[in-house]
Symmetry: C2
Subunit: 319 residues, 2 copies
């Protein structure tokens, strides 16, 4: 066994979803060529999935075992939700410690966790708190050929206009700009900023946020030296020709970013959290409880998340 | 000359945009095989575009001339905006009279027309008024493989939640359902309805309009016998697999409908107005004043609009 990078930490996600199944399938597809990862969760959830498990007590044991069995770092809890949350917390600590090179998270059910008293709307906000991130974490979704960042995420659409501010957009752009340079090989990142309203407001006729918030934010970004432009009419931002002009699209709300991404490629989307001290990726789908246990779940998005996390980790030194 | 269907009426649109150029190019591409159309506007706007013009005084003169020259029915006015508006009004009257088989409109600038005192936010609303349509007109956008209908259109995003109602959604679905049966060959139309909020509200955690407005509207549509389902999480509605399941997606706002459509195919989009007593299509792009006069405008979308209008007209009798 050669000394390689630390393994990736893969959390179990919601145990009622497809997380265990796609984790097992991902191990089968990557066991020979890597990247090496270990699974954090209740080992009972992997029973019956047809893959050998190897319990480990620390991440450094994983590489020697990975070809023959899926390494499992057991996480226990008083409820399924407690295991789900505990795995995220434990994985994060291991990456912060340098024992794992990146965190890859299986999907969670926000509703199930909220019902169990979980105080965060999603992974991103929880990881910001766990890592004591000095800047608010930012969610990026990536498929081959398109990266999108929604400035607001898991909030009702009706609240989006009030949540937008020049400060939010500039801070989000700073985090995105730094990540594109550090982790995505963009020497001079090109960032296109979406408008909010139809036709980007059509000079105020269809909304004024472009004039009062977005254009001033873009001017501030430009003053900081970023290569950024907009506000682009939202429906013009994702055309095949437009997508070739930028490294990432800075969007204003969840579906403005995710609708085009999933329309173009729903199978290989990766969720990346920017602005954390750790690398974190995730498959871009939900827990899919409706198909859990049927053996038909597709691990493509998880595989893309593992591969991207490994590429990002290869370009970074220790945390 | 054989007696064929009445020609299509093509309006000039904004004379500062690419309308004249793409009209001339469309004539060059369709002059031999049709469909036959005539152009309504100021003939001076076609000068220098390299196509022969043939002034006409009535639509029935167009077919005999069409192979050799672009038939032009002159429209005059005291300003460019007056010509643009007058062409729409004149073309609509000719279709209502049966002298033309369908109306195809070149793009207009809502801002320019509003500045000139035009009281309608766009073509769709103006045509509803001109034709005395008994139901509110509905905008459909179509590319090969995807038809979308936004229930609200040219309004600021912040106003969308307040504009949504069970009544609006049910009326829009009725118009869509009837049009799919009458003009698009769908014997039993399949209509998927979008949610408003991220994840369709995730059971109320991310917004409640799904529970208070959209689900009740879908229940009412179902009770009327329509084959309709939802609310579908907006970012799941346009995936390649999802698009195969419906004949049209009923969306809640402009960009929810147009972002995925233009991400997939920005060149062949057609705007169709449903619920009018006349057939009306339009290219799915703006006036593109930035490239007007350069000779580089692409007539693909206008050609698609002309072709679709002709197919729809072929399936209908006289108005």
């Amino acid at each position: 066994v050669t000394a390689g990078p630390a393994p990736l930490a893969l959390t179990c996600g919601d145990l009622a979803g497809i997380g265990p199944e796609i984790s097992a399938k991902a191990w089968s597809r990557r066991r020979r060529d890597g990247p090496c990862f270990f699974w954090l969760g209740d080992p009972a959830a992997l029973k019956g999935l047809g893959v050998p498990m190897a319990p480990i007590s620390a991440p450094h044991e994983a590489p020697a075992l990975f070809t023959e069995a899926l390494p499992v770092l057991p996480v226990t809890g008083q409820s399924p939700a407690a295991v789900t949350i505990g795995a995220i917390a434990a994985g994060t600590r291991l990456v912060l410690d340098g024992q794992a090179s990146a965190l890859v998270t299986n999907p969670i059910s926000k509703k199930s966790l909220a019902d169990a008293g979980f105080a965060y709307p999603g992974h991103t906000e929880f990881l910001g708190a766990l890592t004591g991130s000095p800047v608010p974490p930012v969610m990026m979704l990536a498929i081959p050929g398109l990266r999108v960042v929604p400035a607001t995420v898991h909030v009702p659409l009706a609240k989006v206009p009030d949540l937008l501010s020049e400060k939010l957009l500039v801070e989000t752009a700073r985090t995105l700009h730094a990540a594109l340079k550090r982790d995505f090989g963009c020497a001079v990142p090109r960032i296109a900023v979406a408008g909010l309203n139809p036709h980007a407001g059509e000079q105020g006729l269809l909304g004024t946020e472009e004039q009062t918030i977005i254009a001033p934010a873009i001017a501030a970004m430009t003053a900081e030296g970023m290569n950024v432009w907009g506000p682009v009419p939202p429906d013009a931002l994702f055309t095949p020709r437009a997508r070739e002009t930028y490294d990432a699209a800075l969007c204003l709300y969840h579906d403005q970013a995710l609708i085009p991404l999933k329309a173009l490629d729903v199978d290989h989307g990766v969720n990346v959290t920017l602005g954390l001290p750790i690398i974190r990726t995730s498959p871009d789908h939900g827990i899919a409880a409706d198909i859990a246990g049927k053996g038909i779940a597709d691990p493509a998005s998880l595989l893309a998340a593992l591969d991207l996390a490994a590429r990002m980790a290869a370009g970074r030194g220790p945390v």
